[in-house]
């Protein structure tokens, strides 16, 4: 009766998909763990922004590559998981708004960067937990 139910041990991944893990990059993911002062406040604001499709902060997803602060001028380097990301303008606008709202920030320059390319390796441990909780296998 149960003979049609596949045994877990027989499960094979889709033959047409290459399940690459991607390369990890020494300085990434950047999380602002060592940031102080205004930079720390900017990282906090960035942590508050969620990916539009999954319940994970964009920082834990590994989209933020760096934050630098020069007086009130903030520069954020950010990437996207996919070059054709339909939420690009929505996300960049949200980042600009959230950072601008931080007390002490006068100006923000958001730079979209594409190298190193984002891979799953950029997701933080906490981010991986969030994604697992959401039902993704990672």
């Amino acid at each position: 009766m149960s003979s049609n139910i596949p045994d877990d041990t027989d499960a094979t991944p889709c033959a047409y998909t290459d399940y690459r893990e991607g390369e990890s990059t020494a300085d990434l993911p950047a999380t602002g763990a060592d940031a102080t002062g205004l930079a720390a406040d900017v990282w906090d604001a960035l942590y508050g922004i969620e990916d539009p499709e999954m319940p994970i902060s964009i920082v834990d997803l590994g989209l933020i590559y760096g934050v630098s602060v020069d007086d009130g001028d903030v520069t954020v380097d950010m990437t996207l998981t996919y070059s054709g990301c339909p939420a690009r303008d929505m996300l960049t606008a949200e980042v600009e708004a959230a950072v601008t709202a931080v007390d002490g920030v006068e100006d923000i320059e958001l730079r979209l960067v594409w190298s190193p390319e984002w891979t799953v390796e950029m997701v933080t441990e906490r981010g991986k937990d969030d994604l697992r909780e959401f039902g993704l296998s990672i």
Partner: protein, 307 residues
């Protein structure tokens, strides 16, 4: 050679023209091919192929945007580059603008194959570009392109297996191959960029293509890429029992290829030089229709920029 061409304010006229010409080749190809691919949405032969091609179209739009973004540094915005651009200023190869005949899936698959092999070669030639923004984008784009070639080859092999599919492939090959050569044709510089161009179609300035390589923006010539392209696509298509209209083999070597394109091998309209088929002007009218009808003067954003 310039050490870095990153700062747009430090570019001289020659560098600026070379950069613009290269980026328009890259971006316009991707943008126009994506426009054509989307015509297959809800019409492809299976649900999987429908989703695959729609997804490839989205990839190509994303890549077009990555290249157009770099043109933003030299003062050209999306509006100037797409919606308010003179259709005669587009520099894509005419391979990507040709319409599909209704239901001719073999055309879509073969076109994608011919194009994606060429794209892979030109991306490879951009890995060490002297323009950092170009070099930085290549890895991302290549990682997304890999699947396109896999998809095209997978379908080519199925279609070539016999019967009507093979015939349709052969027809598509006879029709498309001359247009595929235009992928490697030299560009006329952007309008107004150079007096030599005279803003007239066909006024190709070979110096611009030389400059692209001399400045290290791309490290292979069109001819070198064309030769490598032939050495990949010819044996592969022959292995599927397809007959090549021209095989590009050098006289004495069985697998030595020479990219010697004569006028007779090329179609009348080549795209790179600003000449286009009528189908292009129809397609242009179509994708700019809503923009014009709504009397837009700028591109629509999902959200307003924050103050």
């Amino acid at each position: 050679m310039a050490a870095s061409l990153e700062n747009p304010d430090e570019l001289d006229e020659r560098e600026r023209t070379a950069l613009k010409t290269l980026l328009k080749r890259l971006a316009d190809d991707e943008f126009v091919l994506a426009e054509r691919y989307t015509e297959w949405q809800v019409r492809a032969p299976s649900l999987e192929s429908d989703l695959a091609l729609a997804n490839n179209a989205q990839d190509e739009l994303g890549h077009a945007r990555l290249w157009y973004d770099v043109l933003g540094d030299v003062g050209l915005e999306e509006r100037d580059l797409v919606y308010e651009r003179d259709p005669g200023d587009f520099r894509h190869s005419t391979l990507v603008e040709l319409p599909f005949e209704e239901g001719d899936w073999a055309d879509a698959v073969l076109r994608s194959y011919l194009y994606d092999v060429a794209e892979d070669l030109r991306l490879e030639a951009l890995v060490d570009s002297t323009h950092p923004k170009i070099a930085d984008r290549v890895g991302k784009i290549r990682s997304e392109e890999e699947y396109h070639l896999e998809h095209a080859q997978n379908w080519l092999e199925r279609l070539a297996d016999g019967g009507e599919g093979r015939e349709r492939l052969q027809d598509a090959l006879d029709r498309l191959f001359p247009y595929a050569f235009t992928l490697f044709e030299p560009c006329a510089p952007p309008r107004g960029a150079n007096e030599a161009s005279g803003d007239e179609p066909r006024a190709v300035d070979p110096d611009v293509e030389d400059d692209i390589v001399d400045l290290g923006l791309r490290d292979a010539t069109l001819e070198e890429m064309g030769e490598e392209w032939l050495s990949i696509v010819v044996p592969y298509l022959e292995s599927l029992d397809l007959e090549l209209p021209v095989d590009g083999r050098a006289d004495d070597g069985a697998d030595e290829f020479e990219f010697e394109v004569t006028e007779a091998m090329l179609p009348e309209e080549r795209g790179r030089d600003g000449t286009h088929t009528d189908a292009w002007f129809d397609l242009y009218d179509e994708f700019t229709h809503t923009y014009r009808e709504l009397e837009r003067t700028e591109t629509t954003r999902i959200m307003d920029k924050p103050e």
